[in-house]
Symmetry: C2
Subunit: 353 residues, 2 copies
């Protein structure tokens, strides 16, 4: 195993946007979710407007649970996978986990004072946001390694849980766990009510997301697949075994790594996949390559007023990491995947609205 | 990721015993499962004799499902893990998966004729059992890599499934899948009936065991944790995505690797663990290190007449791999783990008896 090369859930985009709250540009809207004849069971998915996206979800579920349907799927094979950042909750101005890591730096330095005058910790401690925005990928990886590893797994869980209970998003001044998308919570519940097993498949840290996923999404730890690090087994002085989080990458759960993670952790091809960026592309392609009815959904962030507008909504250039690129948008259109317009398809974004 | 270093489910012991059916020595019995007052619900675990082992299972379940018990465990936390080879089914004279790999060699060579005169394939093709028994660990790893990787995941599944449907164990002339231990099937069912989620945690290949685990043990693919290799994502000429098994190790699910696998794939500490060798030691220690009632069970193969006798039953020397060593036996006794005597605790071994 190669000693740390990549660390969980970070990319250039997160880095660049580290301190800059995005200006709320008016979205350059693309024609998504063309109006369609809708026939949706009343009362389900109440936060969704009628339209192609809502209809696609209903059609898929109906086709796969009806025993007389050619697309019927046995209950044990009903697997649905969801990206997290930008698909189930807000990912701007930066990934919540990166915020966590930056805020953990003082505690780490308190335990290891020798880091105080060492970069990149020195810059983070300075609070100089301009300098922080210039940190390199290598610097960010050092911060992630220092803040996410080196402690017992139970200690990590306790620390992350405590942080999640108080840390707030700067724009809404609300807990990050309140910034989950209400329409997606409804989809999760609707699928589970129809015997689908719902999984999170995230580029973020698996251990981090597991801390709150059961409470926030109703998804237990064993159904959270994420970027995963190794652990080290050892004995305490009383002879009891304990496990320490190590700076060693087991699974880089991004891009094709999401498919590798799904194969390793589930061992079945999903029937439904939800994402919002190029990091989810292969997961959707892999889902689409299966026989029968398969639901492929991409969330477009085109609502600067209620959330953010980025990606195709702003005509951003094609980049390799983490965004909903025009190329991905074209692939979705070409292959009949469904693009969800946050602005048009969602009646409300958050439960607190 | 280091290119292939270790390959799934093989150790020196399997190699050495490759062709020698163990002589059915009379077991030098150790005093396991001392007689105890038993109070067991009638009709449950019918293939178990009354005794300390059966009682330990009942006591554990009762203590963890009774809401008024100080050891009560919430249903979502009820995790039970089982080693496979030698714990759920026969592992002698060699691991079933190794038999599979050796028997796959002709098909691999047919596709890659250049291997015909290359070792170790030449030796395997020769059918010379004495020469095969002398193959080195490196040779065996080459055979595993050649026979378990390089094909689409669906191709591997189809091939392994087909083989399992006809391949037979030389001693009983029965399908390998018939050589599962009936008493353990009853434990799996009993735990599941009490809301325990049952997992296989095997040093064997994860993909291999997943092929039959649902049918044979009632354990779905996503609850099989094993030694896991990487996969490669690519596109067919029609543009469809496919996944190929690669000779790259993601998880070596043996020894402390079993704890790492449990942390990665489940993210919760088990309440019950069943094993039979040093490869399961850390998994049992990790289970034991949790608070409350924890069930730690080791199966002793002391029944040469009905199955095999090896490990402490034969006073084998302490070795590092794969066996139930005297040191492990001492650890079990010292820490109050329960040793199951196949000879004394099991009324019958197989369903067909």
């Amino acid at each position: 195993m190669k000693p740390i090369a990549r660390t969980p859930g970070i990319d250039r985009r997160a880095l660049l946007s580290i301190l800059a709250l995005l200006p709320a540009l008016s979205a350059a809207l693309l024609p998504v979710s063309a109006p369609a004849q809708t026939s949706t069971p009343g009362g389900l998915l109440p936060s969704w407007n009628d339209g192609a996206a809502k209809q696609a979800i209903f059609d898929f579920v109906r086709a796969t649970i009806d025993r007389s349907s050619p697309s019927y799927v046995l209950p044990e094979d009903r697997i649905a996978v969801f990206d997290q950042d930008g698909t189930l909750w807000v990912e701007h101005p930066m990934y919540t986990q990166v915020v966590y890591c930056l805020e953990r730096v003082p505690a780490v330095v308190a335990k290891k004072p020798e880091l105080r005058n060492v970069e990149p910790f020195k810059t983070v401690l300075s609070g100089n946001r301009e300098a922080m925005a210039k940190l390199s990928m290598g610097d960010i990886e050092k911060i992630l390694a220092a803040t996410l590893t080196g402690m017992k797994v139970e200690e990590f869980n306790a620390e992350a849980k405590k942080w999640m209970e108080t840390a707030k998003h700067p724009r809404w001044n609300r807990l990050y766990t309140e910034l989950v998308y209400q329409p997606m919570l409804e989809v999760l519940r609707y699928l589970r009510d129809n015997a689908y097993k719902t999984y999170i498949v995230t580029g973020g840290g698996q251990d981090f997301v597991r801390v709150y996923a059961e409470k926030v999404y109703g998804i237990p730890p064993e159904q959270v697949i994420g970027t995963a690090g190794g652990t080290k087994y050892a004995y305490a002085s009383d002879g009891k075994a304990f496990l320490t989080k190590e700076p060693k990458l087991l699974l880089n759960d991004n891009n094709a790594g999401k498919v590798e993670g799904i194969h390793m952790m589930i061992g079945r091809r999903p029937y439904a996949a939800f994402g919002n960026s190029t990091g989810d592309r292969q997961m959707l392609e892999w889902t689409a390559a299966g026989a029968g009815a398969r639901l492929k959904m991409l969330l477009l962030h085109d609502d600067a007023a209620r959330e953010y507008a980025y990606g195709p909504a702003q005509g951003l250039p094609d980049t390799k990491v983490g965004t909903f690129t025009p190329a991905l948008y074209d692939e979705a259109k070409k292959n009949g995947w469904t693009v969800i317009s946050m602005k048009n398809d969602w009646k409300r974004i958050f439960a607190f609205e």
